[in-house]
Symmetry: C2
Amino acid sequence: MEVCRTIVELRQAIARRRAAGRVVLVPTMGALHRGHGTLIEEGRDLAGNDGVLVVSIFVNPTQFGEGEDFEDYPRDLERDGQMCDELGVDLIFAPQAKEMYAGDHSIRVRENSVSQHLCGESRPGHFSGVCTVVAKLFNIVQPDIAVFGKKDAQQLAIIRRMVRDLNFPVEIVGVETVREFDGLAMSSRNAYLDSDHREQAPLIREALATAEELFFKGETRASILIGVAEKIISQIDDSRIDYIKVVDADSFQPLERITDDALMAVAVFVGDTRLIDNVELPINECMDAAHVGSVVDELV
Amino acid sequence: MEVCRTIVELRQAIARRRAAGRVVLVPTMGALHRGHGTLIEEGRDLAGNDGVLVVSIFVNPTQFGEGEDFEDYPRDLERDGQMCDELGVDLIFAPQAKEMYAGDHSIRVRENSVSQHLCGESRPGHFSGVCTVVAKLFNIVQPDIAVFGKKDAQQLAIIRRMVRDLNFPVEIVGVETVREFDGLAMSSRNAYLDSDHREQAPLIREALATAEELFFKGETRASILIGVAEKIISQIDDSRIDYIKVVDADSFQPLERITDDALMAVAVFVGDTRLIDNVELPINECMDAAHVGSVVDELV
């Protein structure tokens, strides 16, 4: 495994190996956990023995807003490097911010539809920061395939949109969210939680799972699903719901009633820590909506 | 020569030829004239015998504003095709708008600094339309080199910025403006001019050349250079100056006094036709500014 700090170094390292097979990129902000591990394993599978697996580790300043946790975001390149090595990564790209952004950097890639909702509303500029850095990484690495986690469902949808609309010759692969033993979605930010909050945080997953169950039984009204989930999340001490929405799975437009594949997505501040999670609500798993009344009476 | 109408077709055609040598792209909106001819000849030289020369012909709707000439913009694919064939083009990419933009296209590439001035001020959204389509063309064609004209000096500077800031693996080559026998910069829009306006339009070039001469003789005050040029342009019947500015050659920030490489850029409505032109003012060609007073007295 080789660690590259500059763009030139990385491009040369990839060029030397490219002829052999496909190039696969797993973009991360480091502080790698088992969730990233799954992305990397998927990347290794996709690259095969002949391909090149690149993991980028870069805490991208342009996707953090004022007052967010850019400074505090956990960084541990040594540990990340060990994990990558164990998982068969070929190249780590770990640039400094000044390698990625000129002092007078002036280009932004913006998505103007999917990003209008959820995290896009709560974190202005976040997704244009994400699109900009991912466009840069795509041009730097020129991967055949890039792997992203489904925990950041909106990010994944926006990246897919960027690839389609700017014709990046990159295949995007989404990987299922990995969870702790108690259901909490893996996140580098879980490290911020104190022990009480850590203990209660799995209620976020429980809330989504309960809404999912209701949906499977035929409930398609967003207000009912959201009400049930809110009630469960509100049991977490010092919690504040940033958003909880049922949205169309493609456009991320909030829905009042589910008539096509949807997603319930939530962002919750637990103390000062903002956690996100989501659950897919595929329309073909929903029972006939005629049963709705009785199901709700029974469960709520 | 092969004409490709779809992205898939073009990518396959390039892939078949890529191994042989470098891929060179000349992006145009068609209605090709001798100015484009020079870009294409330069492209052929850069591609060499083994490389692939691609000319794109696409009147890009997203770079035209409300009330601009998108509908009327001249289109003549047959004539363009003949010219490309004669100049040794390998592939023409001439897509329909729906091949380039999905109905729910939602991604824009924006430049936020160089584009704040001149045409960026006069034509809101123009340069983000240009950046977006050029980013798409770069991803579709994946050229090693792309060739642009210096008549659109600000566009060239913005494309260079985009390539730098998004790390496109593309070398940008700028080609000198080609002029009619009487000095008028070649433009597809010259076809809009009636015969009186066509006769007077070279005064735009004369204005820039006079300012250039003054600058060479030591005049570095923008207001003086602009005043001289304005006076000449105002002789054109039915003309209205959209802008005339002396700007820094890199940042395009308007200058009061020239202390580094600069550019005088002008946009003039001649009747309803908007014409642009510019002249480089390289600081090392400027005589000692101490002579300013006498030069101005003599010439103004």
